[in-house]
């Protein structure tokens, strides 16, 4: 199935900064220091980094749930926060927790985005049923989320994201909390479906294996939110891919030490 908006999901990130204010002290906390990069339509990009490096914050900015403090983030030339409604039907996210609506059956959960797009009921049911079947959930259309296992719920969440055939697919630590077998199966489904659909995919993860397995481009985020490395696996020397995991790990450890030293020095100055 062709994407509804294929070749329309070029992402441009320019001088992006995001600061949060602490509720108690009122101090500003830098979540994203500075990000500049471009993702071309149809690319599959994994963003890796340690906890607190601004990966999920970046994803929220990309979804348009939050506004950048400085800089710009655009998808096909438009900003997801300011042109919020423009992206209806173009963008879908798979979150860490399945975030299914507990009062809706599996089928009704998958139908939800199509309802929001005002599609006819018959089309909603046909497409949702087809996607559930594609993800191995035939026979569970009427099951409520609490009647499904964690892996099955996440499959429903995947079906819900794919059902609108979005130009841009986002995943926020979507498979990391599941057992290894289920996680690997879901990752494979995600990659296969995204490739077949020609979707642009941005996958946020803290698992390096997952990022490497996706086989596209890896953006390594340092703390606070900046790019440590931009690795394209397609052009990366084959003989070095085997030790990529170790190299990225060293990079992240060094970054963690440096940011700790900077933090301590700043504290001492105060």
């Amino acid at each position: 199935m062709a994407s509804m908006m294929s070749n329309a999901a070029d992402i441009e990130v320019t001088g992006l900064r995001k600061l949060f204010r602490q509720t108690v002290t009122g101090d500003a906390v830098v979540a994203i220091d500075r990000l500049d990069f471009r993702i071309r339509s149809g690319d599959m990009v994994a963003i890796v980094g340690q906890t607190g490096c601004g990966k999920s914050t970046f994803l929220n900015l990309l979804i348009g749930l939050d506004r950048p403090s400085e800089g710009r983030i655009t998808i096909a030339g438009r900003t997801p926060y300011d042109d919020f409604d423009h992206f209806r039907g173009m963008l879908a996210t798979v979150f860490q927790q399945d975030r299914l609506l507990p009062w809706r059956s599996a089928l009704d959960n998958v139908r939800l985005p199509l309802e929001l797009l005002g599609r006819e009921r018959r089309e909603q049911t046909e497409r949702a049923t087809a996607w559930l079947e594609r993800l191995g959930l035939k026979g569970f259309e009427g099951a409520y989320p609490h009647e499904l296992s964690g892996g099955m719920r996440q499959r429903v969440a995947l079906a819900r994201a794919f059902v609108i055939e979005p130009a841009l697919l986002l995943a926020d630590e979507a498979f990391g909390h599941l057992d290894e077998v289920t996680s690997a199966a879901l990752r494979k489904s995600f990659v296969d479906l995204a490739r077949t659909g020609g979707n642009t995919a941005v996958v946020v993860t803290h698992q390096l294996e997952e990022a490497i397995e996706l086989g596209g481009r890896i953006l390594v985020f340092g703390k606070p939110g900046h790019i440590l490395a931009d690795i394209n696996l397609a052009t990366y020397p084959t003989n070095m891919v085997a030790r990529l995991r170790t190299d990225i790990q060293h990079m992240l450890q060094t970054n963690a030490r440096i940011s700790e030293i900077i933090h301590l020095t700043a504290k001492e100055r105060q």
């Binding site: 209806r88 879908a92 009062w103 929001l116």
Partner: protein, 259 residues
């Protein structure tokens, strides 16, 4: 392999949907209380605690159309209160300014004792039905409002962000997420208000009404008929239990998605 295991777990979960359960324990307690009551009635004079024989003969003679009148008053007032509470809760949820201005007013309304509202209604309004409706609505609507607003605000941020990521219209945001998520709160609020309304309507009917259970109680008191008072009380309790049972049935049907 692991998928087969999770599938079988899910099948078990599907089969585990429970049918409605007979309230055995509740019936046992009620029968025990009735027996205890009868024993006490043998030990004290009948004008203090009348036996079941007297109470049942009183029941047979009571104006049972009064029950329907009281129920109609309660139902009408509760529906109006719910509609009012829901409309204001939605407005308060959507606009912070509305919430900031309405919150103190609602607190004030809720702080006024029911008896004061009854007296105000007698002083302000001539028409009896309006007086009763006024008291019920002014007491129940704020409870609905506070409960519904809490329910709406309690919708998890995760679910709100999930839905927002699909860019719903404001109407869809409400109809697809906020309202369905608030259904458990709505049902609980109905239960609370039902019990509250039945108690309040009885007191309101004591003042000025010429029909309804409250009026029946006034007559019983004027006739010094303790058996009649007990009979009316029994009817009130039965009505409340039945209404709660209906609400529980609705709740079980509407909330079968809960684990």
């Amino acid at each position: 392999m692991s998928d087969k295991i999770v599938m079988s777990e899910a099948v078990e979960a599907l089969e585990a949907r429970k049918p409605l359960r007979f309230p055995r324990e509740m019936l046992i307690v009620l029968v025990l209380l009735a027996v205890l009551w009868e024993i006490v009635s043998w030990l004290v004079p009948p004008f203090v605690v009348p036996g079941w024989g007297r109470i049942l003969s009183s029941l047979a003679e009571l104006r049972l159309d009064f029950v329907l009148i009281t129920l109609a008053r309660v139902a009408a007032a509760l529906f109006i209160s719910f509609a009012l509470g829901l409309a204001l809760a939605v407005a308060m949820y959507l606009w912070t300014a509305v919430e900031n201005y309405l919150k103190p007013a609602v607190r004030l309304l809720m702080a006024v004792p029911v008896v004061c509202w009854i007296l105000f209604s007698v002083l302000w309004f001539k028409w009896v039905e309006f007086r009763i409706a006024f008291v019920l609505i002014v007491v129940c609507a704020p409870v609905f409002l506070v409960d519904l607003l809490d329910g709406m605000k309690g919708v998890s941020r995760d679910l709100r962000d999930m839905l927002r990521s699909f860019r719903p219209s404001r109407t869809h945001f409400f109809t697809k997420l906020v309202l369905p998520a608030t259904v458990p709160t709505i049902l609980t609020s109905w239960k609370i208000n039902l019990s509250l309304a039945i108690r309040v309507v009885t007191i309101a009917e004591l003042v000025g009404a010429v029909s309804g259970i409250g009026y029946g109680l006034v007559i019983a008191q004027e006739l010094f008929s303790v058996a009649d008072v007990f009979a009316w009380t029994l009817i009130l309790v039965i009505v409340l239990f039945l209404a709660e049972a209906v609400l529980t049935l609705i709740e079980e049907r509407m909330l079968r998605w809960r684990a």
